[in-house]
């Protein structure tokens, strides 16, 4: 909880920097605050916060996910300076809102009670509705915001209704009391209905098909850095909440919902990958790729064991790093070319080799090519799920077989042409090159020594 408080205070300070017209400093303030929060996240929780344990508990898993979310946010903020360079006057709101969303994410990592879950989901979502529309002059950005808000509000309704039914049958909001209830009354109809409604709401939040309809439009319309934030930090938070609710709260009725998740995974993998293949716009392709990764992540519910949360964290971290690697490249191209079709990337490797290599390795990591972190993530999830449902793993593998085609398309456009289409003398900012080197190193090192993740983030 101390991490939560620090990030919240940072967000307030960053916001007030804008009030006093010092918006240009809010990025540095935010990064500083996040670094402090990152340091604090390694320390044990203060005694004082034990009294809140029934609502919010900073468990080992919560700590792990908090750390990766903070690292990803810091990396994204490094990219912010260039990405938001046309928002000179009100940068501070953007950073503050992202930090508020991160607060919501951290609430989701530690929630012990359905009330905290609801609070976390809302704190996470509301800043995002604003952020999606932060490019005020762009119609697509406005569309994204409205679409996201309407659909999100609808999903929240499902969540609340589900919570109400679960509360009505089990008589408690507490996750572990619900866990106990699910073990004892697995046939309670109202309880099961509540569980399914909550599943629908959370599947919406993680954009699992067929509840993903909002995500391609929202991801494409939002400013690219915000899209990267939604694909990485928001996905980490929402998926961990999803995982926690289903695998702890509704553990006793696993048999009732696991088949639904299985079907959703199959639909997600096929739909998202085939749609991804059909895109001609790189940003929209990445949106579909992001949806398809939820399908792979969903396999975590099959063959649950005590390493599942760790494997989930590893996969999400690898995926988020890769997302930043590609989105970074996309932000740069979008700035120069004002569009993000595949052709806009033509010959990028000749002018910005570092950026292109980072994007290529990121996409290979997303596709699960060995020696990248993405492979180790996929491998652990597949190895877990194959013990109970080999069929789903087969579907997932077919999905990645389709996905490689659209990742390759973008890599080929960047590397294969003999000449670059970037005639400008403008060079990529230094921070981008630093982040690119970091991403390349992190993806390769985690792919070669996967245990470093456990030792560095404390497991």
């Amino acid at each position: 909880m101390s991490v939560l408080i620090i990030i919240f205070l940072t967000a307030v300070v960053a916001l007030f920097a804008g009030v006093f017209e010092q918006g240009k400093f809010s990025r540095y303030i935010s990064i500083l605050g996040l670094l402090v929060a990152f340091y604090i996240s390694f320390l044990p929780e203060a005694e004082f916060f034990n009294q809140y344990k029934s609502m919010f508990d900073y468990t080992v898993n919560a700590a792990l996910f908090t750390k990766i979310a903070i690292v990803i946010t810091i990396l994204l903020f490094f990219l912010g300076g260039f990405s938001f360079s046309n928002h000179r006057s009100h940068q501070s709101e953007l950073y503050a809102l992202m930090l508020f969303a991160l607060c919501g994410g951290i609430v989701l990592f530690g929630f012990q009670n359905l009330v905290t879950l609801f609070l976390g989901v809302e704190i996470l979502s509301i800043p995002l509705y604003v952020l999606a529309g932060s490019n005020k002059t762009d119609l697509r950005s406005n569309e994204a915001s409205v679409k996201y808000f309407l659909m999100g509000a609808f999903a929240t309704g499902f969540l609340l209704f589900g919570i109400a039914l679960v509360y009505g049958s089990s008589g408690s909001f507490d996750l572990y009391k619900i866990h106990q209830f699910s073990l004892e009354n697995s046939k309670d109809l109202m309880f099961n209905a509540g569980a399914v409604l909550m599943l629908v709401a959370l599947a919406f939040k993680v954009s699992m098909a067929p509840f993903h309809m909002w995500s391609p439009d929202v991801y494409q319309g939002s400013p690219s850095l915000i899209t990267a934030f939604m694909m990485s930090v928001v996905k980490i938070s929402a998926f961990f909440a999803f995982f926690k609710v289903m695998s702890i709260g509704f553990f006793g009725i696993t048999g009732e919902w696991i088949n639904i998740v299985g079907v959703l995974i199959i639909i997600t993998l096929f739909l998202a990958n085939v749609m991804g293949l059909a895109q001609s716009n790189a940003k929209r392709m990445l949106a579909y790729s992001s949806v398809s990764h939820v399908g792979y992540l969903g396999l975590i519910f099959f063959g649950l064991n005590n390493l599942s949360a760790y494997n989930l964290a590893f996969y999400l971290f690898a995926y988020s790093l890769a997302t930043i690697g590609v989105m970074m490249c996309l932000i740069w191209v979008e700035k120069l070319k004002r569009e993000t079709s595949y052709n806009a990337f033509k010959g990028l490797a000749h002018t910005e080799p570092l950026l292109a290599v980072a994007a290529a390795i990121s996409m290979l990591s997303m596709a699960g090519i060995p020696l990248t972190a993405g492979f180790m993530g996929k491998f652990s999830i597949f190895a877990q799920a194959i013990q109970t449902t080999p069929f789903l793993v087969l579907v997932a593998v077919l999905g990645s077989a389709i996905s490689i085609a659209y990742y390759l398309r973008l890599i080929m456009v960047m590397f294969f042409p003999k000449e670059s289409s970037f005639k400008t003398s403008e060079r990529v900012p230094l921070t981008y090159n630093i982040v690119a080197v970091f991403i390349i190193a992190a993806l390769l090192v985690l792919g070669i020594f996967p245990d470093l993740f456990a030792t560095q983030f404390g497991m």
């Binding site: 060995p370 491998f379 597949f382 590397f415």
Partner: protein
Amino acid sequence: MSYLLLTLLLLPLVGSAVVFAWKNSTSKYLALGFAFAQMFLSFYMLANFDATPTVDGVLQYEINYPWSQFIKSNLHFGIDGMSMVLLLLTNILTPLIILSSFNEKPGYRNTFYGLILLMQFGLIGVFTALDGLLFYIFWEVTLIPIWLIAGIWGQENKKIAFTTRFFVYTFVGSLFMMIGLIYVYTHSASFALTDLYNANLNASEQTVIFWFIFFAFAVKLPIFPFHSWQPDTYTYSPTQGTMLLSGIMLKMAVYGLLRYLLPITPDPVLGISGQIVLVLAIVGIVHGALIAIVQNDSKRLIAYSSLSHVGLMVAGIMASAILTVKGTLMTEGGEGALVQAFAHGINVVGLFYCADILYKRFKTRDIRQMGGLAKVAPKFAVLFLVILLGSVGLPLTNGFIGEFILIKSVFDYSKLAAVFAGLTMILSAVYLLRFYGKAMFGEGNESVLSSAKDLSAVEFTVLASLAVFVILLGLFPQPLIEMVNSSLKFIFTSMMN
């Protein structure tokens, strides 16, 4: 912990990093230096290698180091006879392949040579890994550099289509292998090779795993119905890429077949699955040879001839495997396949280089428009003929002994199958001699011939070294056969239990 093997493994990686950073026209000499160092290192290791150990399948130069606490997999590398043969092939061919590119205009940049060395790193990893997961990782590592080589320097108007097909096809194959290996892993103690051999799988599970893993190898080899990526990829890749693909990379699949597929899933070999593979391989032999006869594109012709030769290797391996699982220990198929793998590597690299030399002289790959080069290029005519006859399998050349053992092992299993498998020797003479005749003899175009030169120093060095190997191994195949014998005995014995 063997530092020699560690050096052998890391030297190409270091070399590749250095060459990538060396943004200079001299990067090719640097790459060649690394490749030669690697070659001499493997010769040194060969000199200290016990080719006939007292215990079958014993590993030398072993490295075993724990890797991850969450995955039961070790960084386990080692060399036995089988690995040694393919390591030698890799390390002999790589410097020659690098050397063969020296005359290219405009010159290749550092990235090209860096990628070749990266490829070598992956290949050495594949041939020395003794752990299922490591094998898979290195197997995939080889794919990225060759794909980039083919894509960046491939034929301009075709490259997007053929590289995509090549990558997706092989990647899908590998993914199936990954599922197969993971499934075996969940039923065994760890990814260690011996644990995978002793995995607790029933017959129907084994059949599914067999086909999953076989799919990866069938695509890489390629075996008959999975070969549609191959002719285009071999034809439109730059010559050095084709050499790497056909000379070394497809041997990964021969190696994987022997080292992983057969010992892990021996049961289906006995059933219908083994026979289907045998039949597919033999269909591939005849199919490839017949298409090669009517090909007019020189590179495409060699690609189909490669399909035909690879089919024979697989047929030999499967015939011996079926007999072994039935109860009589037969290792001839494996021996023949490995000897032939070595010989085919040398020959096909030579043939593709000859095709490249012809292309440089005639500016076309169409063999109908060539002719008469023997008059103006006698050195080339001789060396081309030596390599070509090696590929035909003339006695006293390297191709003969491997094909002979392979046909014999197919014969032991089924005489009818041997009739069809034996066609490879006849048909390969037909299409290769037709190729030679059209390209080297006849009238030819006077205006082209008047300006055509004989071999340059670089071309001569590469072709002559290959020709030396063709004749040397044709005269003295015994050391090679002895070297692979003990590891094959170990593998085939473990299939019997």
